[in-house]
């Protein structure tokens, strides 16, 4: 059997889910027997590949760039996993939703800036009015809650998904875990 292609993506999140993924430690070697990591913040591929079997998405959709990315990712992924609370609920990035992006930008780039007080309009992608979970943009196949999901959760869930064994996610993890 040829190895499955695995990708991990980092949208609006703190990278904690990726850290927890790496916390699988020596079990990563076991996982590497079953999958090839073809795209990830931790590998040096610039473009999302054409055909990916399993994609783990960390982070909420917060900018026009995130929105564009997630649509492309969905189109090229067989199985899309929302990894962690930001991807599933909006979590911490969504705490700006009640007050809106303008206030946040003002605070960061005007109020608290000592030099060059201006809101960036090039290079940095435009923020969406509200931060929303991944499944409000594209179909999500598996939800893996947690902030972050533990390394054990990752290991159990990924092993089950790769081997096709039954998977009981609420028994493993919860929001805020």
């Amino acid at each position: 059997m040829s190895k499955l292609k695995l990708a991990t993506v980092w949208l609006d999140g703190c990278s904690g889910c990726h850290m927890s993924f790496l916390d699988m430690d020596e079990r990563l070697l076991e996982l590497a027997e079953l999958v090839d990591v073809v795209y990830s913040p931790i590998v040096d591929t610039k473009e999302f590949p054409d055909q990916v079997d399993i994609t783990l998405v960390e982070g909420a959709v917060a900018s026009v760039d995130d929105e564009k990315k997630i649509k492309k990712i969905r189109a090229h992924s067989k199985l899309l996993i929302a990894m962690g609370d930001c991807a599933i609920t909006g979590n911490v990035p969504s705490m700006r939703n009640p007050i809106g992006p303008e206030v946040i930008l003002d605070r960061a780039y005007i109020e608290n800036a000592t030099a060059q007080q201006q809101i960036p309009c090039v290079v940095v992608p435009k923020l969406l009015k509200v931060v929303r979970p991944v499944h409000e943009f594209v179909k999500v196949d598996v939800y893996l809650p947690g902030c972050p999901p533990s390394a054990d959760t990752f290991h159990t869930a990924l092993t089950a998904l790769i081997t096709g064994e039954p998977l009981d996610i609420p028994a493993l993890t919860r929001f805020g875990a």
């Binding site: 929302a82 609370d85 599933i88 609920t89 909006g90 979590n91 911490v92 969504s94 705490m95 939703n97 009640p98 007050i99 509200v130 929303r132 979970p133 499944h135 409000e136 999500v140 939800y143 893996l144 809650p145 902030c147 996610i169 609420p170 919860r174 929001f175 805020g176």
Partner: protein
């Protein structure tokens, strides 16, 4: 004798033959028989109001779902507590609660000790299918010892009931209607300048992180609502 409180009713809950006293609620009888029905606004020691609808059960021969915490037993009743239909409704109720205000478990003082969070997990809710409302709601940190965070309030009114029924102060109540409902102290005054007796029972019975002790940081905020039946018992004995 037929109308006596000791009159025995026999009924079926989830296929199990059980007996009950007249006037008992379905929830009470289920709990006596180790049949678990999820609850959120119910708390032993407080009156029941059937607000959260999580304890809804099916009664054979009726299309109407009944809240087990306030529905009383009757002879020959056939009750189902965990059908597919009920599971579907419970999940939807929990998703509505999660979407209604700003529940961010990861940064909540009640993380790991929350009635809403644990029910969400127990009922197998892994995501919320409804769009989040993200309302702009205030906090009241005017009290010397406690904080009210309306973002985390589910309007179960346990605080209102414990303050009125057990403490006897009745400083909490609900203002507004429907989606605009909110918990207020006194006549919508700041908690800190209200007639609050500072007993802290509301904090202990709040199932979420809406009411919390200022002395607690991070997610280290276990609550101890199980003292209420004991308080009631001691008062009755006096």
């Amino acid at each position: 004798m037929s109308e006596s409180a000791f009159e025995v009713k026999t009924l079926q809950i989830d296929g199990q033959e059980v007996s009950a006293r007249r006037g008992q609620t379905i929830l009470e009888v289920a709990q006596e028989n180790d049949i678990s029905i999820p609850t959120l606004c119910h708390l032993e020691g407080l009156s029941d109001i059937g607000a959260c609808r999580l304890c809804l059960v099916e009664i054979a021969g009726s299309n109407k779902l009944l809240p087990a915490c306030v529905a009383t037993v009757s002879e020959g009743m056939v009750v189902s507590t965990n059908t597919e239909r009920l599971q579907k409704h419970r999940k939807t109720i929990l998703e509505l609660l999660m979407a209604e205000r700003n529940h961010i478990c990861s940064v909540c003082v009640a993380n790991g000790h929350c009635g809403l969070q644990s029910l969400v997990q127990e009922q197998g809710v892994t995501h919320v299918r409804l769009p989040y409302r993200n309302p702009q709601l205030g906090m009241d940190a005017s009290h010397e010892r406690f904080t009210l965070d309306r973002n985390r309030c589910i309007l179960c009114t346990r605080c209102v009931r414990v303050c009125a029924e057990i403490e006897g102060a009745h400083i909490w109540d609900v203002m507004g209607r429907g989606i605009n409902s909110n918990i207020i102290s006194d006549l919508n005054q700041e908690w800190g300048s209200s007639a609050c007796t500072r007993c802290g029972k509301c904090v202990q019975v709040c199932p979420t992180g809406a009411l919390y002790d200022k002395g607690k940081i991070g997610s280290d905020h276990p609550k101890y609502p199980e003292s209420l039946p004991y308080l009631n018992l001691m008062r009755e004995a006096q």
